[in-house]
Symmetry: C2
């Protein structure tokens, strides 16, 4: 089978990386599985959360994103990120690119009170643009942790902030020249500042502190709908969400219209999705509001046989029956 750009298909992952896992150590609590972006292991008296993700799609923000994307994956398990390691692979070129990446990592890590503890920097054969692979390690305060696969039919689905925050920042930054002839420059500037909203660490730790969520997940590739598909697949459930209920920033709407792309399928770090017992969702949204975290109820977890669907604004029903290919790959490859 030929494999193509983007995340590998679930069928391929299930035959390989979810199955061939080395030794079966008893201290591993959360193993690799579809939709689970972190691992949890036991050390005496503590639980560690580990996440590892590359940044390959964006060129100007790679360093910044690398820290935040991995911090997000650790935080949605309920743990505070603590230590980061980065592997920076570069094509031959000017030292300035490298410096700028390392500065971005330093800045993002400082804000999160994370230390950069080890890593590797190399000008590598076979790489034509900078690639950063980050690994974040965090510690849980107690024993409780959250995973993607914890949602139950009847739970409400909430999301924080707005859809496609990461995609908005990436497109506004990397395609700024092309876009500046099509859309208002002050809007474009605001859109490129969306990278400041990419962390969901506060959102996740706040939700964890209420104890009300049944699952947490941060949608990345494949956008909000991709994230919902992953949550449902990991939880073995269905879902229904309503386009009208999903907050999308004006900047995101304008950019997506100009590039003819769907904001619900555009890379979406910055948004957190969580499932919460049907009886508790109002309490959770109120608690988040008090803490200054914007959250909206966007739908409900269904039984698997009830399907996975988006109700569009006009009433059309769109089924989400497979992993969502991110709009970003299409846009970048069409350039």
């Amino acid at each position: 089978m030929k494999i193509r750009f983007g995340k590998l298909p679930k069928e391929v992952l299930e035959k390989t990386v979810f199955k061939w896992l080395g030794a079966k150590r008893k201290d591993v609590l959360l193993w690799p599985a579809y939709g689970e972006d972190a691992a949890i292991v036991n050390v005496p008296n503590r639980r560690l959360v580990v996440a590892c993700d590359p940044i390959t799609g964006s060129r100007k923000l790679v360093g910044w994103l690398s820290v935040h994307i991995n911090a997000n994956d650790v935080a949605v398990c309920g743990a505070k990120p603590a230590w980061f390691s980065s592997c920076i692979l570069l094509p031959e070129g000017d030292e300035k690119v490298f410096k700028s990446i390392v500065k971005q990592i330093h800045k993002a890590a400082s804000e999160l009170h994370v230390s950069v503890i080890t890593g590797h920097s190399e000008v590598a054969l076979y790489v034509s643009e900078p690639i950063i692979i980050g690994t974040m390690i965090g510690m849980l305060e107690g024993k409780k942790y959250y995973k993607t696969g914890g949602a139950k039919p009847g739970d409400k689905i909430i999301m924080t902030k707005t859809a496609a925050i990461e995609g908005t920042a990436i497109l506004a930054t990397d395609l700024s020249e092309m876009l500046s002839s099509r859309i208002d420059t002050s809007l474009l500037k605001r859109a490129s500042a969306f990278y400041r909203r990419i962390s969901v660490v506060d959102d996740a730790l706040r939700i964890a502190s209420t104890g009300l969520a049944t699952a947490m997940h941060d949608p990345t590739e494949g956008g909000l709908l991709g994230g919902l598909y992953e949550l449902a697949e990991a939880s073995k459930t269905g879902f229904v969400v309503y386009e009208d209920a999903i907050p999308v920033a004006r900047e995101t709407k304008v950019l997506c219209e100009a590039l003819n792309c769907d904001p619900l399928k555009l890379i979406s770090s910055g948004t957190l999705i969580a499932s919460v017992k049907g009886s508790s969702h109002e309490r959770l949204v109120r608690a988040l509001k008090r803490a200054g975290v914007k959250a909206a109820v966007i739908g409900e977890v269904l039984r698997k046989k009830e399907g996975r669907k988006l109700i569009r604004s006009g009433g059309a029903v769109e089924s989400i029956n497979s992993a969502v290919t991110d709009e970003l790959w299409r846009i970048l490859s069409e350039r």
Copy 2:
């Protein structure tokens, strides 16, 4: 400044990744520094060792190498490797390549009693050959750990096994077609089986258990001489080693002659170098011999002002005054 293929120069690293390290957490015991390939952090009641390295130079053994190279970096600190995460980046192509990589990781991890706990697999833009970035985490039994920068003038330098084990395996495997017309096929077959010798986990844990070493390091890029330079630089010392005292396998010698390369500057995982107090080196070598680990005394740590030098077999003195560029990059780029 233009940066070129291979590890980045020390001057560049010192201005960037050794300086911009995010928050200054007090639980970090070993920070990034030249020659230090792992980090050590405190969790309550335990010390964790973390190492992160990519495999980009070899195509057929990437999965296998990724586990062992990172396990080596953790073990030379004195810790047993426990958990591995891998980021696998691929160009578009056949699924078989991916499967073979994951199987290699599974096999190597199983042998080391390591679990594969998280990761990411992606067909990535900007990548023209498979690249695996591994992160290994291990736990120290007690409080004592080893670093590259612990050698003292007057210490003896010992090495285990032979020089350029990794390079021998990579060249014999990846250039097998080209080499088969030049050298004996049974020798080539034995050389390609050198990847079985790449782990230094046993060597390192054995040396650690004696408590006699002052520093441990596993030479990788830049070969044995590159590793010695890193040890000296991290320890702020000089050194003298004798070509005649350095064990080189016959297979390695033949391959290096055919490709006109220096085995002492060829990528060298599989060998462990350690410094040991002048009065204890015989005890250490005897202890290793009893445990079935081959070790040789190859030279001595000097004061920095005494220089860093290799005495060639003929008596010529070669100064090692800067990081060593690996012969592998030259050979692969000349193909």
